[in-house]
Each structure stands twice: as C-alpha cells, then as structure tokens.
C-alpha cells in the first residue's frame, strides 16, 4: 500500500468522477486516490472507483458558502474513519475536483516543499486575519463562541491568531490531518478559516505556497490557459470550469 494519498472532493455525476480518477491516474501517477463524495447517496453508490467515502454532512452542501460557513469537517471526519484501517498513508493531498495538477510529479513537489519548509500543512493564499478588516474574520469574530473555542483548543501562547487559506488544495502530514479531523468544530467555522486555524492552534506548522498562488485562485476559469500556466511554472490550476465535461467529450489531453 502506498504512503501517498490523494483525496479528490467532488459532487459530480458518476461518468465525470470516473473520468477524473482515470485522468489523475494517467497524468499524476503514484498516489492512491480516494474519492470524497459530496453528491447524492444514490450517485455515490453507483460510483465505480477504487476507493470512495460518502460525506454525509449538510454543512458541505451550502449555497452561500461564506455566509453559511461551508465546512470540510464532514470530509475530514469521513476520511479519518477510512484512514483508521489504513495505517500506511503518511502524506495526504486534498484537492477539489476543479483543481487539477499541471505536472505529473505534483505529489513529489508538494512533499519536497513540505520538507523544505519543515511544515505540517501547505496551503494556497495563506494569510493571517486576526485584527484585520477581512470580512470572513469579522463575521467569525461576531460569534461570541469563536474566541472561547480557540482559547479552549489552542496550545499556542497567542490564542487569538486566525489564519485563512483556500480550500481547493492543501497538503498534509497524516498526523496533522487526523488531529484536525478529531478536533471537530464548535462553533461552525468557514472551511478557509477552519483548516489552517485549527491546525495552527493544535500546534502544527502551516505554510503557504506563495509561488503557486497566482494559479490557484478563488474564482474565475483557468481552463483555457493551461498550457501558458504550465510554461509559467504552475504546478496546478484552480478553478478549471467544465474541464471534466471536456475530457469526457473529447478524451483529449489538457
């Protein structure tokens, strides 16, 4: 069994998910792939992929993600349960379906960066938010249970630190991933705040992939520019809209 696990989070229909898994196996070979499925139970049951877990959490299935504080807690919990019987995995690459690798050895690049940074978690667009005007921070700080929660779980001297990173891609040492999964969330936290902030206060070192931020964006569509991004040094691209539909339609290389 591999030491490397890639988790692909998706809610798409079965043919698209199956095409996505085949594409990842072909274009970024090496790690085992686990589908964390946020679609319907019926579609999940019909999925023909090597490994899959169903994410049974209404807080993943939000419409207004920021105001409803969309959460990956259910994803972490489901994957953590799956990992419990698979002790060999050491490193975890968590990626949303619309974040695609642009190099075959992305896992190796992330692993090397993790080692170079002596970090436990890598994320894109990592920022410190506490005390700032960032709307996500201000929204959380209005919750009277937010600061006491951080105070309760933190092993840091400064228990007010709040971090944020994009949720579309992150890279974890297994111990950090399982600790964050076990920490749970009370009160509800928006995933971009929850992942790095919980990890930080649980004592882990979180570092940003600053040189990749230009190609990992919160919105837009990078699908038409993949060759240019690859030439510019991008390891991955997000978001890529309709990429899997296009793969299914043409079977073409990106």
């Amino acid at each position: 069994m591999s030491e490397r696990l890639t988790i692909l989070l998706t809610h798409q229909a079965e043919p698209l998910v199956e095409a996505m898994v085949a594409w990842w196996q072909r274009h970024a070979p090496g790690p085992d792939i686990l589908i964390a499925y946020g679609g319907t139970r019926e579609r999940f049951e019909a999925l023909r992929v090597p490994e899959k877990v169903f994410v049974d959490d209404s807080r993943l299935r939000t419409r207004d993600h920021q105001r409803e504080r969309q959460s990956f807690a259910g994803v972490f919990s489901a994957v953590n349960g799956w990992l419990r019987h698979r002790q060999s995995y050491r490193l975890i690459h968590l990626s949303e379906f619309d974040c695609i690798p642009l190099c075959g050895d992305i896992f190796g690049k992330l692993e090397a960066r993790l080692a170079a940074e002596d970090a436990d978690i890598l994320g894109c667009r990592l920022e410190r938010l506490d005390g700032t005007n960032h709307p996500h921070y201000l929204y959380h700080s209005a919750d009277p249970s937010f600061a006491p929660f951080l105070n309760q779980i933190s092993m840091r001297k400064d228990r007010a630190v709040v971090l944020s990173m994009l949720g579309c891609v992150s890279f974890w040492k297994r111990g950090a991933f399982t600790a964050v999964a076990d920490a749970g969330e009370s009160p509800p936290l928006y995933l971009e705040i929850a992942m790095p902030t919980l990890a930080h206060h649980l004592g882990f070192r979180v570092r940003g992939l600053g040189d990749q931020s230009a190609w990992v964006q919160p919105a837009g569509n990078l699908a038409p520019k993949l060759d240019a991004l690859r030439a510019a040094g991008a390891w991955m691209a997000h978001p890529v809209k309709d990429f899997w539909e296009e793969q299914l339609r043409t079977g073409a290389r990106p």
Partner: protein, 92 residues
Amino acid sequence: MKKLLLALLRGFTAVFGARVVDQRTGRSIGRALFIPWRGKLRVIGLADKRVIVTFESQHRLTYWNQALTFSTHPEPDFPHERKVDDSPDSSG
C-alpha cells in the same frame, strides 16, 4: 442596479480615495474612502486588503490630534508547538 452602483463607487474610490500606506512595509495598500456614519467610520475600498488599524504612537506628546494608521500582518511563519510522527506504520 446594485452592481452598477458598486462599480461606480469603486471607480470613484480609485480616483478620489485617500492613499493608504502600510506602516510595516512602507508600501501603498490602495485607496479608500473614509465616511463618518452614526458614530463610526465606514471604510470603502479595502475589501481585498487585510489591514490592521491602530492609533499611531507619539514620539512627541500631542493632545489636539491623533493618527490612525494601517498595517498588514507578515506572511504566517509560526514554529511547531508539536511534532508529527509521520513514519509509516507497516502493521496496517
């Protein structure tokens, strides 16, 4: 309609807003409008910036005015408080 008004407001801020400088780096953060409103100061134009507002300390004691300043956090670079044992367990 709301989108149009917001776009106009953004354009107005970009031209007529006050320049905001990061006191930590000395770099320009952008332009913003500061509007007193019901006992608070509304800030428009810094939505995509992460700024911390503080009163500037005074090297020379002055009673008649104080300055509000803006700064940013450096990139997060905190040390470990615990180490992960990430060696693989062959028993699985």
